[in-house]
């Protein structure tokens, strides 16, 4: 069965759905139906995967002279990313249900984004991977630039330029790989001897470090996160940053294992710096969305540390934390955006005592916040503890410094609860009606259920994640 339409149908549909639905409405229904369909197809794909290695879905548009063929192959790692993406697309659509400003264009762009991001996770030809990688920037540019807050234009263009420059390094690395191996197929490059693996490693590393983002390449993200509309921030944190982490795992760690082992300390050091720097920045913030944004970056630092540990357990922990981070940080962004929408302020001092006016919403915020600080029973705890253990296994007991990051996150999150959720009710909160669209609330409830479910039953996720890395460690490459 052909799967290329999962990529190209949304790209084409996005262009054509806009015109008829611009006046009639209904784009959000089309988007939701499409994302549900994509989710169901991904499940179907998952069930048909072989025990190890890739499942070839097809090869299209072959240009033999340049090895430029759209080779669609998936393995467990990519299908897990596809599942995460499709779930988040559904929840982001639900979270944008009551959007009033140009809904047809907004949902058309989301549809376009879905095609591009599926392309990223499904193609194993590096050039096509890059094409889809870059294509995700276009809808994001418009989603931030048109639907964002006051400083949206600056943030959108900064995001676009910053990540585009980083992509150029990735493209150069791909060209060098092709020159040295004669193929753009990532599943074949691994078998070939590259003559300059260190240079390629650095080019790819910096390219993906910008996307994750790691300190000091992170400066584009706080602006983009803060200015983007809340559902788009959730998409940024949940999908776009994960693209960077996926690229780092798939193309840096698994494709260039020797160079990765040699320079793992760079990844770990930058991960630690990101964890601590972003944590301190979050502690300092009074702007609720900036606090969430820095918290998001800080947790990406944790994922980087796990990736740098380069063991089976640490990579599994990193992937688990990637999923956990996506599910935990998204409701925090959505609620922060909702509070700004209602109170017309980002400042936490204007938000005291929300629990008294919106108890359910506050409960979800606290749950997600507790997840972020790593409370047992939530995904955050499992993610953090497994990263801590696997890092200590790889690097020794000094890795307990990770706990400093956890302490900082506990500090800023608990302090945020104190200022926003509890405490004395502010005049603004007193005068505001916090009623929320039911569909949007449903999205938050689903996020909460997933955070608790996978927190209580992490094995359901870990068994799949472990299988994803089994083949890499069994067949070769990493040891």
């Amino acid at each position: 069965m052909s799967y290329e339409y999962l990529i190209f149908a949304p790209l084409v549909l996005a262009l054509f759905i806009y015109i008829p639905t611009r006046n009639l409405g209904g784009t959000k229904h089309v988007a939701l139906a499409l994302f549900l369909y994509m989710f169901s197809k991904t499940i179907e794909l998952y069930q048909s995967l072989p025990a190890h290695g890739y499942k070839l879905l097809g090869e299209f548009l072959d240009v033999k002279a340049f090895d430029f063929a759209l080779t669609l192959q998936v393995d467990r790692l990519s299908v897990i990313m596809l599942l995460l993406t499709s779930v988040l697309l559904i929840l982001v659509t639900l979270s944008s249900w009551s959007l009033e400003k140009k809904p047809a264009a907004y949902f058309s762009l989301l549809i376009f984004f879905s095609g591009a991001i599926f392309g990223v996770f499904m193609s194993t030809n590096l050039l096509w991977f890059f094409i889809f990688w870059e294509l995700t920037l276009i809808p994001m540019l418009f989603l931030v630039g048109i639907w964002g807050a006051e400083g949206r234009i600056y943030a959108a263009i900064k995001f676009f330029l910053y990540t585009h420059v980083a992509s150029m390094l990735i493209l150069l690395a791909f060209f060098m790989m092709y020159k040295q191996s004669g193929t753009f197929d990532m599943s074949l490059i691994k078998e070939s001897m590259l003559s300059t693996p260190i240079l390629i490693w650095w080019l790819l590393f910096i390219g993906f470090a910008v996307k994750i983002p790691l300190f000091p390449f992170h400066t584009w993200l706080p602006d983009a996160h803060v200015q983007a509309p809340a559902p788009v921030s959730a998409l940024l944190a949940g999908v776009l940053l994960k693209m960077g982490a996926y690229g780092m795992i798939r193309l840096v760690l698994l494709l260039l294992p020797e160079a990765s082992q040699r320079y793992a300390w760079v990844l770990v050091t930058l991960g630690l710096l990101t964890l601590l720097f972003a944590g301190f920045m979050a502690l300092y913030e009074t702007h609720i969305k900036k606090m969430v944004a820095y918290s998001s970056i800080s947790h990406m630092g944790l994922i980087a540390i796990a990736m740098g540990a380069l063991s089976f357990d640490s990579l599994s922990a990193a992937l688990y934390e990637m999923i956990g981070h996506a599910l935990i940080i998204s409701p925090l962004f959505l609620i922060a955006g909702f509070l700004h929408h209602k109170l017309n302020s980002w400042e936490m001092e204007d938000m005291g005592g929300i629990m008294q006016k919106a108890p359910y919403l506050s409960a979800i915020f606290v749950l997600a916040g507790l997840g972020a600080l790593g409370l047992p029973g939530t995904m955050g705890f499992i993610g953090e503890i497994s990263i801590l253990i696997s890092s200590i296994e790889s690097f020794g007991s000094w890795m307990v410094v990770i706990l400093i990051g956890s302490l900082i996150s506990a500090a800023y999150l608990i302090w945020t609860f104190r200022r926003v959720i509890y405490g004395e009710i502010s005049t603004k909160v007193e005068q505001t009606d916090f009623s929320m669209n039911r569909v949007e609330f449903l999205a938050l409830v689903i996020f909460s259920i997933l955070i608790i479910y996978f927190g209580l039953f992490p094995q359901t996720l870990f068994s799949e994640i472990n299988q994803a890395f089994d083949s890499f460690f069994n067949i070769g490459g990493l040891s």
Partner: protein, 434 residues
Amino acid sequence: MSAFITLFAFALFSFAIRNISLLKVLSLIALGACAYFSLHNYHVELNGFALSSAMALFEVVLFIVLGAFVLNETETVNITQTLFIGTASVALLESNTLINFIISFEALSIISFVLVANIKNAQQAEGAVKMFIAGSIATALIVFGTAFYLFEGHSLNKTIQSVGMFGAIGLWVMLMGLFYKLTIVPMHTWAADSYSQIKASHAALLSGVAKTVAALATFKIFAPFLLQNLDFSMPILITFSLITMTLGNFLALFQKKVSKILAYSSIAHAGYMLLAFVAVKSGYASTGLLYIAIAYIFMQSSLFMLIGNLHDNSSYITLENLKGLGKKDKITSLIFSIQLFSLAGVPLLAGFISKAVLVYAVVDVNLPIVALITLLNSALSVAYYAWIIKHIYFDDVSLNYNLKELEFTPLLAQVILLGGTLYFGVFAYTVFAV
């Protein structure tokens, strides 16, 4: 030379047709016939001319683009001139000897001068004069270089032979003359003004059609010479290429007039095209140049034509005027943005894969630093393309908004050009197959 003869004959005949609709229809039929001849390689043998499969593909693209120009025009004289430009372009593309190359090149230059002589205001006059002076210097250099080449006893009625010192000096002087036409820095100064001052559709023909044709023909004729002198030519061409793209991109960043931004972008693209000359020993260089020529002819023609459609005086269109265009004129904005994204090298559009092949050609000859600088230049160019898009979509409608909307035939022309940008963005095998 079937296409050349057909187009030349029809261009002469077109003087007799005064009804613009009839002229448009007949011109499209003639261009269609030419495309058919090129596609099926119906070739009338003529000494010193030959049609390769790569040039045949480019000719087909050229006729499609000229068809779009014909659809876009509102004056019969411009259609006739467009057909003559096409005729000279075909002759240049098929030239196989140095003498035919020089004559065809001069023919294209002279027709270009006639084209821009259709002056409507003082600005257009200034642009035309600058172009004429630059063209004259280019011709002088080409003739001067030819004299050196002949001094060594070579024949012009052949392809470039193995040369000695004088021959090499002659060919380099000729190349400098040709670089005027290709707008290579520092021979570029006329282009930024001329492209932004002359009528937008003429700028489209000159920067979109004439430049790409000149680049392809120059590569075809001079590649053997550059291959013989790689140690000497490579550092010189790398310098020219990097300075051209960097200066073009930097200067574009500071412009307010959209036509001037496109003019500097055109100069930057000349720098990218020169990479093919740098990487001449790579098998990907000729494919890359062909690809970027195809992509560029669609993108640049479309953008300059759009500016001309928005306002009769292209100098009127500043970034300020484009504010909120996305809200007022969705179709123009969409086409404008897609073509800009393509120029910026956004994937699934012709601009990306064409640039990618060229950059790979540079990597293929072991020049990763040059490739990196090129890629960073490409990223830099995104800044001003994104800035135009920012004005179109993110800003509120301009207060002094009085831009025209696209009529049917210009819209059709734009759809054809957009089709080219999209087609060659996805179906790369069309170019690699030749």
